[in-house]
């Protein structure tokens, strides 16, 4: 193997890891979005998963597999009593209530001395490898992909398009919505647990509501018609800062502000010109070519 490959890997390991992690976060937003529910408690679920996993590793000295299991299970358990009342809300009210849940989690962690309050838990051993992140991501994509076309998948699409009509067809809509919220909690909790063991630390400041908004932006930019869109959006927006770092000296802006500016412009452009997301770009181009020739 060439030395250059090893160099490439070591210099981009963090970026590659974050593409996978952000894809999982984006899929966790997609899980509820695909049945029409704009639920944004994912930063809260990620925090619960990350802390649960970190506590298993650091305080209980449990094996990593147990930490990951705790990271998936703890937010899943929490999502049921959260979902039962808040999933009665619709649209933006559901978004506000779930963002509120995320803030409750964050502020509770800030005030919890056992986990070092605002400082968070540090010196977590790095147990997450790239292949593990991508294994979990592949499993998540597989489950969401196989959902399509099943009785479940059609029920979710029906709920997204017309919930009352779905109910008159015998679909127990509240159960499906709750199940997808639990899946969202499992996905973001697992990603949070992986992240905690990838970056050596967890702190409440990593789970502000802006984090949940970021996850939503990944999904919207990539497109939410299929489960590949959120992955594409997460990959694109995670790579973007790397590209912008090269560009920033040319345009005379610091990479940080430039990233925010670029993210905002991209989101705006997607919503205006490509509302079904980046994933729909190939179809759009084909349709355009056929339209032009015909």
């Amino acid at each position: 193997m060439g030395q250059w490959l090893i160099d490439l890997y070591s210099s981009y390991e963090s970026t590659l890891g974050y593409i996978g992690l952000n894809s999982l976060f984006a899929l966790s937003v997609y899980a509820t979005l695909c049945c029409g529910q704009l639920a944004l408690g994912n930063a809260g679920f990620a925090a619960v998963g990350a802390y649960a996993a970190a506590l298993v590793t650091m305080h209980a000295h449990g094996p990593f597999s147990l930490a990951l299991f705790a990271g998936a299970l703890a937010p899943a358990i929490l999502s049921v009593p959260l979902g039962l009342p808040v999933l009665r809300l619709k649209g933006v009210f559901l978004a506000i209530a779930t963002l509120g849940f995320g803030e409750v989690v964050r502020i509770s962690l800030v005030n919890w001395d056992y986990v070092n309050g605002a400082q968070g838990i540090v010196a977590i051993p790095k147990l997450t490898s790239l292949w593990l992140i991508y294994l979990v991501l592949a499993a998540a994509i597989f489950v969401l992909y196989r959902l399509r076309g099943s009785k479940w998948g059609f029920a979710l699409e029906a709920i997204r398009e017309d919930e009352p009509a779905a109910r008159t067809l015998g679909i127990a809509t509240h159960r499906y919505k709750l199940a997808m919220l639990v899946l969202a909690a499992v996905l973001s909790g697992t990603a949070g647990a992986l992240e905690a063991h990838f970056t050596f630390m967890v702190a409440p400041s990593g789970f502000t509501f802006l984090r949940a908004v970021d996850m939503l932006v990944f999904a919207v930019v990539g497109g939410t018609l299929t489960c590949f869109g959120p992955v594409l959006g997460a990959a694109f927006l995670t790579l973007l800062p790397e590209l912008l770092r090269e560009v920033s000296p040319l345009v005379g802006l610091e990479p940080g502000p430039l990233r925010l500016l670029a993210n905002g412009l991209i989101l705006l452009a997607i919503i205006l010109f490509l509302p079904e997301g980046l994933a729909s770009l190939p179809q759009r181009l084909v349709a355009r070519r056929e339209g032009g020739s015909g």
Binding site: V143, K151, F154, P164, A165, R167, T168, L169
Partner: protein, 255 residues
């Protein structure tokens, strides 16, 4: 023997408006019961009450001896009540076939686990469900339109997809809310004959319709509503002669 559906003293008020006021009627097995009346008479509200989308303020709705007035829509659907909507409510981004597949929800076996394990039984179940949906589309005369998105179908076609979707529940009671609105005479006659065939097969049908000729030709019995109240009930020919009904539709002559 009691009727399949017994509605007694049904009432629903929106604010101070009595949209439905002490309405009673029965639908027998294999019977087509027409529900007619001028605009705003409360016909659609009755369908919404029977299908569980709204709750009655008073009165009882009994399906085969079981009270369904307090059940949620998906439970009522599970007992064999299917409906269509006056303002068509298909899933616009799903194809005609997929819309009907959603209607098969209660009859499909759960296959998620076998799908995740890539078992062939899941694919077999899919094929069976799709074949059934295709059969139902053919039954409403849309056999060749199954792959087209609902939003791209014509108005009359969308109404027929909605009927096929409701039939996918294999309902004992079918609630049709103006199924021929916006159709031409030929399409309307096709729907009318479909309704008669369904009744002959033993389905009970509650039909809300404005097309008077269709009601006369199709229904075994008619209930007439005006301002939320029943003003006439009986066979179509008798109802058509009723002075109160004529007055409700056309107004009363000055004395």
């Amino acid at each position: 023997m009691s009727a399949l559906l017994e509605v007694r003293g049904l009432a629903r008020a929106f604010g101070g408006v009595h949209a439905v006021d002490r309405v009673s009627f029965f639908v027998e097995k294999g019977e087509v019961r027409g529900l007619i009346g001028p605009n705003g008479a409360g016909k659609t509200t009755v369908l919404n009450l029977v299908s569980g989308l709204i709750r009655p303020s008073a009165g009882s709705i009994v399906l085969e001896g079981r009270s369904i007035a307090a059940l949620s829509p998906h439970r009522i659907a599970g007992l064999g009540v299917a409906r269509t909507f006056q303002n068509i409510r298909l899933f616009p981004d799903l194809s005609a076939l997929e819309n009907v597949l959603v209607g098969e929800h209660l009859r499909r076996r759960p296959t998620l686990l076998s799908r995740l394990l890539l078992l062939p039984s899941a694919a077999a179940e899919d094929r069976r469900a799709r074949a059934q949906a295709g059969f139902l589309l053919a039954r409403v005369g849309l056999g060749g339109r199954s792959a087209i998105k609902a939003r791209h179908l014509s108005y009359g076609e969308q109404r027929r997809v909605e009927i096929a979707r409701a039939l996918a529940l294999d309902p004992r009671l079918l609630l049709l809310d103006e199924p021929t609105a916006g159709m031409n005479a030929v399409e309307a006659e096709e729907v009318a004959s479909l309704v008669r065939r369904l009744a002959a097969e033993g389905h009970a049908v509650l039909l809300v319709e404005h097309n008077v000729r269709l009601v006369m030709d199709t229904c075994d019995a008619v209930t007439v509503l005006s301002f939320g109240q029943v003003i006439a009930d009986g066979p179509p020919s008798a109802v058509a002669q009723d002075e109160g009904v004529v007055a409700a539709y056309l107004g009363r002559a000055r004395p």
